[in-house]
């Protein structure tokens, strides 16, 4: 027995009853929906990728405007050339690596470019992505670690830089220019350099000091067992073992690698809670009590703990000892970049002291400019946790640069085996 459909009751004047019909409702609805769609699409400035801006790059005006600093300011000793640009820049970089203002509103207002940023967590990911897309990745700026640059140049993944468009490169400390991975600076410009260490919760673990990698391993296997995070890259995990045992972490000796694998897979894997290159994101929610971390990320963790209402005093940071790494990340332009002119202009702008220091204050890594002390004294006299950004000469002397050599493949294998062993 079928029921008659119930009449709809709406709050409307009687006169509407004649005009209101299903068809008219659909028409109004369709029109309203279409208008909403147009409004949403129309106001969207940063539309899909930089493919639209292919025409824009030819209009860049390098008017070389300079921001003239006050007389007597230390800034006057630096090159402050700012080139204008147009369009969109797509950057593929490490997580939380630039002040959001610098890649957002400040870039728009100063340079006239809008930026789109994507993230990766290891150099292998970057290389695989660029290789698989064979020049069509759509990225302009990429930020590899120095040791991986020779490989990327050999595979044709990077474009040569036009240094005439980066006049501010003179601001960079000569110690961080022309390194062995790119001796004549054809492809890369220093972004910042950093090191690796650990941070731990003193209150929960009951451990007051962790002075060496061996102590880190001990705490990870005892007090912080099952609550430890390690950095999700092959060289760092193997490096922990090598540094704790006084072996050069770029060793290619089979005996060393076998010992490393045996220890990590059979003894250490079960104590790992997560493979996390950015433990700062999870430390605030209480996920780990001990974490291997890069110095800038550890510094950000302290800020996040305070923001989440925790007590950053409970946590401590330690630089890796007796040896650790020094890594440098550099700005490069990917092969097939859609907007290379704007990319050059943006990199150039990042090398001006004010912007560079603002960025440094955000991500917590030394950006390698000349005469850093004077700059900081003037621009950021109240720098927080400076000892996590700047290291003494003795500390720097203990840092080893990495190398991508024949052991690389074995290290990645070891990492994957540790991951498989750590699961259940």
């Amino acid at each position: 027995m079928t029921k008659r459909p119930e009449p709809i009751s709406i709050l409307a004047p009687e006169s509407f009853r004649e005009k209101l019909s299903r068809r008219s409702l659909f028409q109004i609805g369709g029109a309203a929906g279409g208008l909403a769609l147009l409004a949403a699409c129309g106001s969207d400035d940063e539309d899909s990728g930089s493919s639209d801006t292919a025409g824009g790059s030819s209009d860049t005006t390098a008017d070389g405007s300079s921001a003239t600093p006050a007389a007597g300011s230390v800034l006057a000793e630096y090159s402050n050339v700012i080139n204008q640009a147009e369009g969109t820049i797509a950057m593929y970089t490490w997580g939380d690596y630039n002040d959001p203002e610098i890649v957002g509103p400040l870039a728009e207002s100063t340079l006239g470019v809008s930026m789109k940023v994507d993230f990766y967590a290891s150099n292998e990911d970057l290389i695989v992505k660029l290789e698989a897309s064979q020049g069509t990745s759509g990225f302009d700026i990429v930020v590899p670690t120095g040791a991986y640059i020779p490989q990327m140049i050999a595979k044709g993944l990077l474009e040569k830089l036009d240094l005439s468009k980066i006049p501010n490169i003179v601001n960079v400390d000569p110690a961080y220019r022309n390194r062995d991975w790119d001796p004549d600076e054809g492809y890369s410009v220093c972004k910042n350099w950093g090191s690796t260490g650990w941070m731990w919760n003193k209150a929960v673990t009951g451990v007051d000091s962790i002075a060496t990698w061996q102590e880190f391993i001990d705490v990870a296997m005892n007090q912080a067992s099952g609550q430890t995070a390690v950095i999700d890259t092959a060289p760092n995990l193997a490096g922990m073992y090598f540094w704790a045992n006084g072996i050069d972490w770029t060793t290619e000796e089979a005996a060393d690698l076998d010992a490393c694998e045996a220890f990590l897979v059979d003894e250490f894997a079960q104590h790992i809670k997560a493979f996390d290159s950015y433990p700062s994101t999870k430390i605030a929610e209480g996920a780990y009590t001990l974490a291997m971390a890069w110095n800038g990320d550890a510094r950000q963790a302290l800020v996040r703990i305070a923001d989440a209402g925790g007590d950053p005093e409970e946590w401590a940071w330690g630089l890796g000892a007796p040896a650790t790494e020094i890594w440098m990340d550099l700005y490069c332009i990917a092969a097939g970049a859609p907007n290379p002119d704007a990319a050059h202009a943006w990199i150039n702008w990042l090398l001006t002291p004010e912007v560079s220091i603002q960025d440094l204050n955000y991500h917590g890594y030394n950006s390698g400019l000349n005469n850093m002390d004077a700059l900081l004294a003037e621009l950021v006299p109240d720098l927080v946790d400076g000892d996590m950004i700047f290291f003494s000469d003795e500390q720097v002397a203990t840092m080893q640069t990495g190398a991508v050599n024949s052991a690389q493949e074995r290290l990645v294998e070891i990492l994957n085996k540790v991951k498989a062993k750590a699961a259940g």
Binding site: E124, D125, I127, V265, K273, F275, E285, E413, G424
Partner: protein, 313 residues
């Protein structure tokens, strides 16, 4: 006798019409080009070796084929993750069925027509959010330092902070949560299609509520359950997002392992071998499940059969 000419068919000439599978042509082409071919490539890669220096964008050398990658994938450490993945997926599927069946039953038989659409919408609408966001959202209630953890500790329910994140339990929870809708809908459709007369007849003939459910409703919903199981178990096996977001080191699953082989290790042949093994494992589990169901039905059929007496003329 006059010769009767057939009227002209769609092809414009007498007699032959286009074969019926022409209508499926585009779909067949699509599947072959974008499904069969990639799977064949994966099979081919799984027999090759890694070539880090390749400039073609694909770091695989298929010059000399071998089964070495399968031997590597069967090694102890990796195989443990396979077993864990299958175990997690089966558990989650069973949980989904157990939770979904009462909900679907309720919706199909106990809810009035007018409310059904709204309740179904309530079940479907959460799927409008991105899968990743739904999974990430689990980090908030499960956070060791979070509000829920604080309350549970205050009420004495647990001793320390919640330690579910970064374990297989978290992965299990999120899998059941994310795929429950895929189980409820096919079940609901199957139950809804059962003629109401059949259940009434069962009641008239004297079967109680439980007996009616076990012997009439449940078997008739069989195809729906099968569809629901397929729709949940197969995606769960390959699930990668949940393992990465919530699993940590403990909750590693095959999907994440294959990803790290393809991306991190650039070892496409080993990753392909694992992918092929996963397809095989899923087929094996489904085959075993189907065989079990077949055997059970045969056994029950023999027990419950009605033997009609011989008609004596």
């Amino acid at each position: 006798m006059a010769v009767v000419r057939m009227p002209a068919g769609p092809t414009g000439s007498t007699g032959r019409r286009a074969p019926k599978w022409v209508l499926a042509g585009p779909a067949i082409f699509w599947y072959i080009a974008f499904f069969v071919m990639p799977i064949l490539f994966i099979l081919l890669y799984s027999l090759g070796t890694k070539n880090a220096l390749s400039t073609s964008g694909v770091p695989v050398d298929v010059g000399s084929l071998s089964l070495q990658n399968y031997r590597d994938a069967f090694s102890d450490t990796f195989f443990k993750t396979f077993r864990a993945t299958i175990r997690i997926a089966i558990t989650a599927t069973v949980l989904c069925t157990v939770i979904g069946l009462p909900v679907a039953y309720f919706l199909a038989f106990k809810v009035q027509e007018k409310w059904r659409a709204i309740l179904l919408a309530l079940i479907i609408v959460p799927s409008f959010t991105s899968f990743l966001i739904r999974t990430l959202a689990w980090r908030i209630p499960l956070a060791p330092n979070g509000t829920l953890s604080g309350w549970l500790q205050d009420w004495g329910v647990i001793d320390g902070p919640i330690q579910i994140l970064e374990t297989q339990t978290a992965v299990q929870l999120a899998l059941v949560y994310n795929y429950l809708g895929f189980m409820i809908l096919p079940l609901f459709v199957a139950l809804d299609r059962i003629e109401p007369g059949l259940r009434e007849a069962s009641k008239d003939l004297g079967a109680g509520r439980v007996a009616t459910f076990l012997r009439v409703t449940f078997p008739l919903a069989g195809p729906g359950i099968a569809a629901g199981v397929l729709l949940t178990f197969i995606p769960m096996c390959g699930d990668f997002v949940t393992a990465v977001v919530l699993g940590g080191a403990d909750g590693n699953m095959v999907g994440a392992m294959i990803d790290s082989q393809f991306k991190g290790a650039q070892n496409w042949p080993l990753g392909s071998a694992m992918a092929v093994m996963m397809i095989g494992a899923v087929l094996v589990v489904l085959g075993v499940g189907a065989a079990m169901v077949f055997v059970i039905r045969k056994a029950l059929g023999i027990r419950r059969r009605v033997v009609l007496p011989e008609v004596v003329r």
